[in-house]
Amino acid sequence: MKQMIAVLRRELVGYFATPLAYVFIVLFLFSMGAFTFYVGNFYEAGNADLSSFFGFHPWLYLFFIPAISMRLWAEEQKSGTIELLMTLPIPLWSMVTGKFLAAWAFTGLALFLTFPIWLTVNYLGDPDNGVIFASYIGSFFMAGGYLAIGSCLSALTRNQVIAFVLSVVICFLFTVSGLPLVLDFFSSWAPKILVTTIASFSFMTHFEAIMDGVIDLRDIVFFITLISLWLTVNAIVLDQKKAG
């Protein structure tokens, strides 16, 4: 546990040691604003809610999260520090969890910094803050899901660009698997159980359920299970590297 916290802290310090973190947060906030106001027509819709804001989260995460996660393990492998880290007396799970939690905390911070939009909507109207709170929670867990995927794929390669592209592709599949675009393709021939399984893997399906203001335990469990699974695979990938 102590070691996990040490890894987590080192990772977090690493984010802010370079301008990278600040650039990322600025770009993230800017994109969030741009999409909400210009593409999502926040004002024109005339509703005192943040659905036009949260609706874009899966799509923005699709590119922003892999940008955070790509360096988690790829950089260690590139610079050789993986050999240092893996020969310290740290249990593998502590390393994987520590790094993941650092990235998740960083994402959480970026997400938290979108609070002016919440102030705006409260100033303009009388929104249901319970729904907004639930959506933030949902968005945070969804971000964790994307991060776990990205972390695992980052362990596969020493090249950050490859890690980024792989993560975007896999995250995209997990995003769209609930959309008609994908489901129609399967529904014509595949058994219904397969179609619902594919749909149930969609981040959108679960996130939209939460966005409706109901934090269903099943949706949270979905994300937690998904995170655990990908992090387990992440640890297995790292362990396999020892075989050479």
Binding site: Q3, V13, T18, S79, T81, E83, L84, T87, P89, G244
Partner: protein
């Protein structure tokens, strides 16, 4: 009987079809500094990676302070200080932050961590750069950060992959002195390309080639294997060379004689003993005095480690060229 801290039995590592390490067995006791010598690709680093648990052996076993690397890796790692090849460190951190991270991971409380860090910093002379990002440091400082990290927890076993690579002569001297100073309390393995380093710090050396041990002994024993062991070299004027060579041939016990032109005016003649244990120097000195040879210098050779190295290793032609 000294305490054996590192025991390695038939350790083997294959990558695909390639055998990087092919059945190494050795042990290192407390107080010993074992040098791994060998050309690039001989398996030195791979062996170290297996001992520290970064790679899993394909076969064989190893124990560090009694703990098997195959089943108690965390305990093994507690007892090892490891400097990986190239001394990797987190470049965006300062040495101060980096060493603090290592201390935290190694389970030190704040007070104890401060002391351990201060000790390691003092031993590696890092005081002046503690607050500069590691990325901006010179190669010598980076290497010393790596060494500081390895010795921070005062481990009984120290494994260092090319600890003096990239250091200037003064820094090399300092690192060797540090290793020698720690040697009494620890079992140390270092790998090196620098043959003089073996003589300077190692109590024993293994010459490794193509994953196998081709020689094992103290530096003096290894040097004794050299053709030059107990040979006598004379530096003479070119004009006198023929006469002197004739005279040397007549000495009892003298074998081959080689001649190297040093410049237009002088030559170096080396006479090798037939039996490596014969001491020729006395006879050569007597003969030269009797015959009043005009000699510029005369000395007995201890042996040349680079020659032993070249004669025993074959796996990388380019490397052999570089060592001579």
């Amino acid at each position: 009987m000294s305490q054996v801290l590192i025991e390695v039995e038939h350790l083997r590592k294959s990558f695909g079809g390639f055998r990087a390490v092919d059945g190494l067995s050795f042990s290192v006791s407390k107080g010993e500094v074992l040098g791994f010598l060998g050309p690039n690709g001989a398996g030195k680093s791979t062996t170290m990676k297996m001992l520290t648990g970064f790679l899993t052996p394909s076969a064989g076993r190893a124990r560090i302070c009694g703990a098997e690397i195959s089943d108690d890796l965390l305990e093994v790692r507690e007892n090892i200080g490891y400097l990986p090849e190239g001394a990797p460190a987190y470049g965006d951190m300062t040495p101060g932050q980096f060493l603090r991270f290592i201390a935290q991971v190694r389970g030190y409380e704040k007070q104890a961590a401060n002391k351990a860090i201060a000790d390691a910093v003092a031993k590696t002379q890092l005081q002046s750069v503690l607050d500069q990002p590691i990325d901006t440091l010179s190669k010598g400082f980076k290497r010393r950060v790596g060494i500081a990290q390895a010795i921070l927890h005062n481990p009984p076993v120290l494994i260092m992959d090319e600890p003096t690579d990239g250091l200037d002569p003064n820094q090399k001297f300092a690192v060797r002195r540090l290793i020698t100073a720690m040697a009494k309390e620890k079992a140390i393995i270092i790998s090196t390309h620098i043959l003089e380093e073996v003589e300077a710090v190692c109590t024993r050396a293994l010459i490794i080639d193509q994953g196998r041990i081709v020689a094992d002994g103290t530096p003096a024993e290894l040097i004794a294997r050299s053709r030059y062991h107990n040979a006598v070299t004379l530096e003479v004027a070119t004009g006198d060379a023929d006469l002197i060579r004739q005279g040397l041939k007549e000495i009892e016990g003298a074998g081959d004689i080689s001649e190297v032109a040093m410049n237009a005016a002088s030559k170096r003649i080396t006479v090798f003993p037939k039996d490596p244990e014969t001491l020729l120097i006395d006879d050569v000195a007597i003969v030269s005095t009797e015959k009043h040879w005009p000699i510029k210098s005369l000395y007995a050779e201890a042996g040349r480690l680079d020659e032993v190295f070249r004669s025993l290793t074959t796996s990388d032609a380019g490397e052999q060229g570089a060592v001579s």
